[in-house]
C-alpha cells in the first residue's frame, strides 16, 4: 500500500477573509445628486439608502458604503474611482 500524504491545510490570512470596508470620503465638489446616482447604479441601492450614505458622507465626512471580501471591495473601489468619488479600502477593525 502506498504511503498517503496529507497536504497541510493552508491557513487563510485574516487580511483577505475578514470583511473589508469600502469607504467614500467627502469632497465639496461632487454633487449630492451625482453621488446618490452613483451609489444606486454601482450597488443597486434604493434611492433612500443611497441618500442615507450620501448624507453620511456630507455630514460626517465619510461613509462605509459596502463591506465584504477584499477582492470585491477592491473592485468596487476601482469602479467608484471611475466615477471620481474619493474612495478607499479599509482593513477591518
Amino acid at each position: 500500500m502506498a504511503d498517503s500524504t496529507v497536504a497541510p491545510v493552508e491557513k487563510q490570512s485574516t487580511a483577505t477573509t475578514a470583511p473589508w470596508n469600502v469607504v467614500v470620503h467627502n469632497d465639496p465638489i461632487n454633487l449630492m445628486s451625482y453621488v446618490c446616482r452613483v451609489f444606486q447604479k454601482v450597488f443597486g441601492y434604493s434611492k433612500d439608502r443611497a441618500v442615507k450614505h450620501m448624507m453620511e458622507v456630507h455630514h460626517q465626512g465619510r461613509s462605509i458604503v459596502w463591506t465584504g471580501d477584499r477582492e470585491r471591495a477592491e473592485h468596487y473601489v476601482q469602479i467608484l474611482h471611475q466615477y471620481l468619488l474619493l474612495t478607499t479600502l479599509e482593513r477591518p477593525d
Binding site: 465639496p28 451625482y34 476601482q78 474611482h81 474612495t87 479600502l89 479599509e90
Partner: protein
C-alpha cells in the same frame, strides 16, 4: 441658455450666447490635469489610507492607466459633441445623446475637480455668491465649476426620469 429633453431621450442646449458657448468649449481642456500634482492626486487618489504601499503601487501600475483611458475617452466624446455645436438664429445649440450622458457626466466632473484642485476651491468657496462678472481666474474657475455642475444636474434629472424613478 435653454435646456430641454429630446424625443430620443437626449438633451438639447439651445440659445447659448457666444460667451457661454466659449465657457462650454473650455470644459474638455479644463478637465486636463496637465501635470498639476494636486489635480492628478484628485483624479487618481490612493485606494488605501493605510500604509499598504504594495497595493498603492499595484494600483498605479494596473488601475491608473485604465482610469486615464476612461477619462480621456469621456473627454473626447464631450469635445466632439461641442465641436458639432450649431449656430442658429437665436444662438448656439448643442445636442447630447442619451448614449453620451455618462461620458458628459464624467468629463464635466473631471473639469470641476481639476479646476477646484488648481484653484484650491473648498466648501466655503463653493458656497460663495458670484455677483457680477468674474474678476479673476479663480472666480472664473468657480463660474465654470457651477455651470458644469448645472449641466450635470440636468443630465442626472433626465436619467432619473428615464429610469422611471419618482
Amino acid at each position: 441658455m435653454f435646456i430641454s429633453p429630446t424625443l430620443e431621450g437626449g438633451l438639447r442646449l439651445s440659445e447659448i450666447d457666444r460667451g457661454l458657448m466659449n465657457i462650454l468649449r473650455e470644459a474638455p481642456d479644463a478637465a486636463d490635469p496637465r501635470g498639476d500634482s494636486r489635480a492628478l492626486d484628485r483624479l487618481y487618489p490612493r485606494p488605501t489610507a493605510d500604509v499598504e504601499e504594495e497595493m498603492n503601487d499595484d494600483w498605479n501600475e494596473f488601475v491608473q492607466p485604465d482610469l486615464q483611458h476612461l477619462f480621456e475617452s469621456a473627454n473626447q466624446t464631450m469635445r466632439r459633441d461641442l465641436d458639432a455645436a450649431a449656430l442658429e438664429e437665436d444662438g448656439w445649440s448643442v445636442e447630447v445623446s442619451a448614449a453620451h450622458f455618462d461620458a458628459w457626466l464624467c468629463a464635466l466632473n473631471q473639469a470641476r475637480l481639476v479646476l477646484a484642485s488648481r484653484h484650491k476651491v473648498d466648501e466655503k468657496a463653493m458656497n460663495e455668491e458670484l455677483s457680477g462678472g468674474p474678476r479673476d481666474a479663480r472666480e472664473f474657475a468657480l463660474l465654470q465649476i457651477h455651470l458644469y455642475g448645472f449641466l450635470q444636474e440636468n443630465i442626472l434629472r433626465i436619467q432619473e426620469l428615464d429610469s422611471g424613478e419618482p
